[in-house]
Symmetry: C2
Subunit: 247 residues, 2 copies
C-alpha cells in the first residue's frame, strides 16, 4: 500500500508513516483544509499517551468489537482522514463483521467524495475483498443536522443499530447517539465532545485501535459484550494515563 | 491585516483567526508541508493550557523582553509559521528593540524564502515601520548544522548575543545555545526539545506571548532582568498548569 521509504526501526516510523499517508491523500484530493491540523492535535495527545495502546484502550477496543459483532445492522463510517490513515484496516474490519462501510464526510463536495470513494474501491479490489462501500448516492438524512453533512444512506448509517465513527465531529456524534444507536468513537482526546458523548470511546491512535480489534477478531478467543462496561471510568482511565506521563 | 469575517465574540475566534492566517500563508507559498500538523499539535497543548497566558508564561515573557532589551545585539528569527501567525507582532517587537529580524526556515527553498520575505516587507511598509528584515543573502553558517538549514546572516543571527526563535526546531535551538547565545523560545509544549534546551521558554500561544511582550514594553514600568530567574521551575509551573486543567 505504502511507497514509504523510511526505516521501520526508526523510533518515529509509525508517526512518519501516518504523515506520509496524509500527504498522499492530500495529493489525491481526499482531505479538507482542516485535516492536517486535526491530525496534529491527535499527534500531541498520542505523544502524551506514549504512542501505545493503553490497558483502557484495549478494553474499549474489545468492547467495541463485541458490540459491533452483536449488532443486527452494524456499519462503519469513513471520512477523509480515516480513509487516508487506515483504509485497509477499515475494509478488513467491515469484512470481518460482514457489514457495509459508508463514506460520510463533514465538508462534503462531489470532488472529495469521488476521491475517497475511488480510493476505497481501489483498496477493496487490491485486498481481494468485496466490502459494500456506500456513500455515492445518499437517500436519507441524519435528523438534527443541517445541510450536506446530514446526508447518508438508508441501508447504511440511517438504519444501523451500531456504528463505528472514528475521528468524528462532536455534532455528528451527538446526532447519531440521539438516534438511539450504539456509537463507537476512536479519538485521542478523551476530553473531546465526541469522546464524551459516544457509547464507547477508544482513546487510541486510529490504526493501532483498528489493528487491536482485528487481532481480537482472529484470536480464536470469544469476544463478548461486557454488560458492566463503564464508558465514563474507561475515559477517566485514559486521562489518568496521560496525566501520569506528564508527571 | 486580516480579511477574516468571523464574529470576535465567538468563543473560538482567536483559534479560528490563527487557522485563517495559516490558510492565507499556505496560499502564498509560505509554509512547508508539516506546518499545519505542527500547528495542530500546538492547538492541543493550548487547549490543555485553557487558551490563556498563565502566570508562569507571563513571568517568562517579562524575562524574555528584559534579556532582549539588555542584549547588545538582539535578533528575532522568523520562520514560515511565525510569519503566518504573528508577522505584525514580530515587526513591532523588532521596532521596539531596534533590532533586525531574520527570516530563517528549516526547509529552505528559494520560493518559500521569497514568499515570506515579500510578505514581511509588505507588512513592514503597511505598518509604517523600517525594520531591517534579513534573510535574502545569507553569508554565514550556524556551527553544528548541516545543509541549507545552517545558512544565516553574519550581521543577524551569527553575531547576535540574544535571539528570539519562536516555534523552533530542537536541533537548531540546541545549535544556537551551543554558540553561547541567550535563546528565547516560544513553544506550547513544555516537554519539547526546544522548550527544554532554551535559556528562556515562554509556554504560550505565539501571538499572545508577543502581545504580552509588547504590552510590557509600553507599560511605562521598567522591565529588568531577574537574576534569580529559573528556567526549569518556570517550565515545571507551565506543566503543572496543564496537569491541573486535565484533572
Amino acid at each position: 500500500m505504502d511507497d514509504f521509504a523510511a526505516d521501520p526501526s526508526h523510533p518515529r516510523y509509525a508517526s512518519l508513516l501516518m504523515r506520509h499517508r496524509l500527504e498522499v491523500a492530500a495529493e489525491r484530493g481526499m482531505l479538507a483544509a482542516s485535516a492536517m491540523i486535526a491530525h496534529g492535535r491527535g499527534e500531541a495527545f498520542d505523544y502524551l499517551l506514549g504512542e501505545r495502546s493503553t490497558t483502557s484502550a484495549l478494553a474499549a477496543a474489545r468492547q467495541a468489537l463485541a458490540v459491533l459483532q452483536a449488532a443486527e445492522r452494524p456499519v462503519l463510517s469513513v471520512n477523509g482522514n480515516v480513509a487516508a490513515l487506515a483504509c485497509d484496516e477499515m475494509l478488513q474490519l467491515a469484512n470481518v463483521l460482514q457489514c457495509p462501510l459508508e463514506v460520510n464526510i463533514f465538508y462534503r463536495t462531489p470532488e472529495r467524495m469521488e476521491a475517497i470513494l475511488s480510493y476505497m474501491k481501489e483498496r477493496n479490489d487490491a485486498l481481494g475483498l468485496e466490502v459494500n462501500v456506500l456513500g455515492d448516492s445518499p437517500n436519507a438524512t441524519i435528523p438534527g443536522l443541517k445541510g450536506p453533512r446530514a446526508a447518508c444512506h438508508r441501508e447504511g448509517i440511517l438504519e444501523s443499530d451500531a456504528i463505528l465513527v472514528p475521528l468524528e465531529d462532536g455534532d455528528r456524534c451527538k446526532a447519531l447517539v440521539a438516534m438511539g444507536k450504539n456509537v463507537v468513537v476512536i479519538d485521542l482526546n478523551p476530553l473531546s465532545r465526541s469522546a464524551q458523548q459516544a457509547s464507547i470511546t477508544i482513546v487510541d491512535e486510529l490504526s493501532r485501535a483498528l489493528n487491536n480489534m482485528l487481532e481480537f477478531s482472529t484470536s480464536g478467543e470469544p469476544v463478548e459484550v461486557d454488560e458492566t462496561y463503564d464508558h465514563r471510568s474507561i475515559l477517566q482511565a485514559g486521562l489518568a494515563e496521560m496525566l501520569s506521563s506528564l508527571k
